[in-house]
Amino acid sequence: MKSLAELEKLRDITKKKIELRDGDCDYRIVVGMATCGIAAGARPVLNALIAEATEAEYSCTIAQTGCIGMCTLEPLVEVFDKNGNKTTYVLINPEKAVEIMREHIGKGNIVEKYTVGSVKR
């Protein structure tokens, strides 16, 4: 390393790797992984979310949770933004998961058609 600029560049790269310990991420994504979720295919959804987040280097943490309650609408994915606003996506499959990542996490646009509000309607 031959300059401060190089050091700063390295810091920005390494910072991303430990971001989830600081809680500084823009989004927190939670996948319902109780028996109902797993049976409905939550695991491939989780894998798809992780793969997409890795590739695009989104600022988010991905975690599982227990039963969210609407077992008929599993797999469920909840997205929390920095202000604690929650968006609940239902009946998600890996393809929809990728779309949510690109639109919602990547560009900040909620994918209305998959939200619990529009599906229930």
């Binding site: 390393m1 031959k2 300059s3 401060l4 190089e6 050091l7 700063e8 390295l10 810091r11 390494t14 910072k15 790797k17 430990i18 989830l20 310990r21 809680g23 991420c25 927190r28 992984m33 109780a34 992780i50 793969a51 987040a53 890795t54 943490t61 991905i62 975690a63 599982q64 949770t65 227990g66």
Partner: protein
């Protein structure tokens, strides 16, 4: 992508309770569930709550697991890492004082709520064996800042303005020390990190080096730039193998990235660090003895002046700072002197790390702003004495310090207040003593330590401390008299005035301080030949009250030397004083309070 980080403490404390095995087992279990790419196990430094170790922190959940055993690992992996259900029974929690509800939030748990971690900021947060994690936490930015934006004098001025004082015990202003060395003209100068932590019960320096070695190394380079040195030594005892290992790894990684060596960050500045291992002699923490030891000679102190800043290692200007002092430097450079001064008291700004030990619920490492009261540290953070015993005193400053009692509990802790109360800050060991401890015995313990550690160069320390130990032993074994007390006091005072170095000059402090504060305990030993706390065995007798004895034989069954005789249900039991080893087993086992200790 990693979605979960599990940080496992790999400090000396948790390592001794198998944290290395836990890490190994975690990685095995992760493979079973095919989670190895999603969950990262990180080895980290001390979380401070050593009492509850081994400790594991889970992010992003922000959960602490405590007392984790190897057998808990499968459950943690299958329940928490795989299914997302935290293992409640292992979670660190506290009871909310008002609502009486359990709280799990780390920042609200009393042990952490009052703490302010500056020197320990990365301990338990990063992997000390990975320089990238340190860099992610703004590591080496302070060095970059001083090399590109500040003159040497500006660095010294900033440290002076911060009011940082030496954390090793003396409390000497760090900036002034640096100025002395910077003002010398010499072809070579040296920066030494004093990691020869010797006070019984103090382990903050070890924990910092184990948890965040780069913070100390970076600060040494900054000090080198400030005073014009290009060579540094870390003087550390070989008894700290984990810290030594992590330092070696850290130096190697920093050299590889070009952060140590020649032309650092393209600025032309050169700095190298070497590790020097000490054999664990207490006196080598004294700076002139430390220098002798680095030079390969027998570690013995020399008279000052000349001070090391003028004539130090190899006869060249040298600054010697303690590990914790260095750990504060980078933060002062990055955040500024005013930020540092905003913490602590006017004359003692910043924070201080204390090692809580002895009769206290939360044994461990705490970092608090100066000016916090002893009561807050001992009761709110430390949780008070275990088993509802009464607090008697707290010993600070190790073998050079003294005791503080109940009446001092509301004193804000800083360098000057502790000295005014007849004790001292020292390196920050706090040993809590309760009603079951005998103060004469405590004083004797410290004197025994000093006798072992006296280097023998000067007569007052070599012979004087030995004579003091003999007098204390006389008291503890029932051979004392009022004359013993007078002799102890006058001998103590003359050693204070005549010994060569700090070790000898402060050696009588624990005795003189306890004599002053616990006069009646000393008198009981000297005149009545009794030990009120029931510790000094030679002064104790055990007997059984025939009126209270229910002839149950429980005492006899528990006596390890068969000194108690009697027949169950027929005769009262008696103790044969000639056989009795005064272990107290009969006293603790008797259900009818029939055993009398006199």
């Amino acid at each position: 992508m990693e979605r979960l980080h599990a940080l496992v403490c790999a400090g000396t404390g948790c390592t001794s309770s198998q944290s290395a095995l836990i890490i190994e087992r975690l990685n095995e279990e992760l493979v079973k569930f095919n989670l190895q790419d999603e969950v990262k196990i990180v080895k980290t430094g001390c979380f401070g709550l050593c009492q509850k170790g081994p400790i594991m922190a889970i992010y992003p959940d922000k959960i602490f697991y405590c007392h984790v055993s190897v057998d808990d690992v499968p459950e943690i992996v299958s329940e928490h890492f795989y299914k997302g259900r935290p293992v409640k029974r292992l979670e660190l929690s506290d009871i909310d004082e008002i609502t009486k509800e359990k709280i799990f939030e780390i920042s609200k748990i009393r042990f952490y709520a009052k703490q302010k971690r500056v020197a320990l900021r990365n301990c338990g947060v990063i992997n000390p064996e990975d320089i990238n994690e340190y860099i992610a936490k703004d590591g080496y930015q302070a060095l970059g800042k001083v090399l590109t934006q500040m003159t040497s004098q500006a660095v010294i001025d900033e440290i002076k303005r911060s009011g940082l004082r030496g954390r090793g015990g003396g409390g000497f202003p760090t900036g002034i020390k640096w100025q002395f060395a910077a003002d010398q003209t010499s072809d070579e100068k040296y920066v030494i990190c004093n990691a020869d932590e010797g006070d019984p019960g103090a382990f903050m320096d070890r924990s910092i080096l184990e948890g965040d070695p780069h913070a100390v190394l970076e600060a040494m380079a900054i000090a080198g730039y400030a005073i014009g040195a290009k060579h540094g030594y870390v003087y550390i005892r070989a008894e700290y193998p984990i810290a030594v290992e992590r330092l070696k790894i850290a130096i190697k990684q920093a050299e590889k990235l070009g952060l140590f060596g020649k032309d650092i960050l393209g600025t032309g500045f050169e700095f190298n660090v070497e590790i020097r291992l000490g054999a664990g002699a207490f006196v080598c923490g004294e700076e002139t003895a430390l220098i002798m030891s680095i030079e390969g000679k027998r570690g013995m102190p020399n008279p000052k002046p000349p001070f090391p800043a003028i004539k130090g290692v190899w006869g060249k200007p040298t600054i010697i700072n303690n590990v914790e002092t260095f750990a504060n430097i980078t933060q002062i450079i990055i955040n500024g002197a005013d930020w540092f001064r905003s913490m602590g008291t006017n004359k003692s700004p910043g924070t201080k790390v204390f090692a809580l030990g002895g009769k206290i619920v939360n044994t461990g490492l705490v970092e608090i702003p100066m000016g916090t009261t002893l009561r807050e540290v001992i009761y709110e953070i430390g949780g008070g004495c275990p088993n509802n015993k009464n607090f008697k005193a707290v010993q600070t400053g190790g073998p050079s310090g003294g005791c503080l009692t109940e009446k001092d509990l509301n004193t804000p802790i800083d360098f000057d207040n502790l000295t005014a109360l007849g004790s001292m800050m020292g390196s920050g060991g706090m040993i809590v003593v309760d009603e079951d401890n005998c103060m004469v015995d405590v004083a004797r313990f410290y004197m025994e330590f000093i006798c072992d550690e006296s280097c023998g160069k000067c007569t007052p320390c070599r012979i004087g401390t030995k004579r003091m130990l003999e007098l204390l032993t006389d008291l503890c074994e029932g051979r004392g008299s009022l004359a013993t007390l007078d002799e102890l006091e006058s001998l103590g005072n003359s050693i204070k005035e005549t010994a060569l170095c700090g070790l000898g000059q402060t050696a009588p402090n624990p005795v003189l301080s306890t004599m002053r504060l616990f006069k009646d305990e000393y008198l009981a030993h000297a005149v009545d030949h009794k030990c009120p706390a029931g510790v000094c065995k030679n002064l104790l007798t055990y007997s059984i009250d025939p009126l209270k004895c229910k002839k149950c034989s429980l005492c006899a069954k528990n006596c390890p030397v068969d000194a108690i005789s009697g027949e169950v249900g027929k005769t009262v039991f008696t103790i044969d004083a000639a056989k009795c080893i005064k272990c107290g087993a009969c006293l603790t086992n008797c259900r009818f309070n029939a055993v009398i200790r006199g």
